[in-house]
Subunit: 136 residues, 2 copies
DNA sequence: TCATTACCCTATAAAAATGATAGGGTAATT
DNA sequence: AATTACCCTATCATTTTTATAGGGTAATGA
C-alpha cells in the first residue's frame, strides 16, 4: 500500500508544479489547499528538500519551489524517498536490496522471480514524471 | 510490501502442489520443511481452508491437500485472501474498494488514474497460477 | 528594529498492522 | 484408548504509520 506520507508528497509536488511562479509557495498554503496536516507536511517537505526535489526560501513570502526540471521528478522517485522500495519484496529491490533470509538460493527462488517480474512491470508506470501525471 | 503471511501462504500452496499425493500433508511437515512457525501456519491454513483453496483431513495421517485445480489457484488469489487488495490505493481496488475520502472527484483524480494503470499492469503478472509459478 | 511569517529540529505518542505465541478443545485414525 | 492432527480464541511484543507539541532560527516587510 502507498502510505499517506507518499500520497501527500505526490500531491505536494503536483501542487507546486501546477502553481509555479517566481514567488515560492508556503507550507501553510499547501497544507490548507491539499488538506495535509501542517506539521506532517513540514516533515515531508524537509525530506523532499534533503533529496533536492524542492528548494525552500525563508522569511515572510517564503515557501517552496521545485528544485529540478519537473520532467525529472517521477512518482517512483517520490515513492522511493518517502516509502522506500517499489518492489513488493526486498530481495528484488535495486536500491533497497535486503536478503529475505529465507530461501536457500536467491537465483532459483521462484517467488523472487515472480516479484522481480512484477517490479519490472510496475516501474514504467511509476516512472512517469510529474508533468505526465498532471496530464492524466 | 508482501506480508510474511502471504509469502508463507504462497510457499505452502507451492509445497502442496509439488508434493501432491493421495495422502494429505500435515501442517507439521509444511512447518518444518518451509520453516514456518507452526501456530502461525495453522492460522494461515485455516484461512485458506475457509476460502476453499485447501481441503483438510483430520486424524492421524491427516493433513492438507489442494481443494481445487492448481490451474485455478493464482498468486493474486492468495494475496487477496491473506493481504487484501492488490492495488496500492484502496480506491482503485475491484474487490476491496474503499474511498480514499480525500479527492473531490474520483473520476478525475490523477493519482487514482496512475494507480489504476499500475494495478492493470500488475494483475497479469500476479494472475499466474501456482503451476506457472512452479515452472519459473 | 520589530513584528510577522515561515522554515528547522527533536521528542513524543496514539493507533493500526504485523508476526507471532499460548493453551486448550475437538475429531479421526490406528 | 492413545495418538496424531486439525480447530478456535485470546493475548502480546514489535514495528510502522500518522500524526502532534513545542520551541528554535532565519528572513522579510513595515
Amino acid at each position: 500500500m502507498l502510505s499517506k506520507r507518499a500520497k501527500y508528497a505526490i500531491k505536494t509536488i503536483l501542487y507546486l508544479y501546477e502553481h509555479q511562479s517566481p514567488v515560492p509557495i508556503s507550507a501553510k498554503t499547501i497544507s490548507e489547499k491539499e488538506r495535509i496536516p501542517y506539521k506532517f507536511l513540514e516533515n515531508i517537505l524537509r525530506e523532499l528538500k534533503t533529496h533536492q526535489v524542492v528548494r525552500s526560501v525563508r522569511g515572510a513570502e517564503g515557501g517552496y519551489t521545485l528544485a529540478k526540471d519537473p520532467n525529472e521528478i517521477t512518482v517512483a522517485h517520490l515513492m522511493r524517498i518517502i516509502d522506500g522500495p517499489i518492489a513488493l519484496i526486498p530481495c528484488v529491490s535495486e536500491r533497497y536490496y535486503e536478503s529475505c533470509g529465507e530461501c536457500e538460493n536467491e537465483e532459483t527462488c521462484r517467488i523472487r522471480k515472480l516479484f522481480a517480474e512484477l517490479r519490472t512491470e510496475m516501474l514504467p508506470v511509476l516512472e512517469k514524471s510529474i508533468i505526465q501525471l498532471a496530464g492524466l
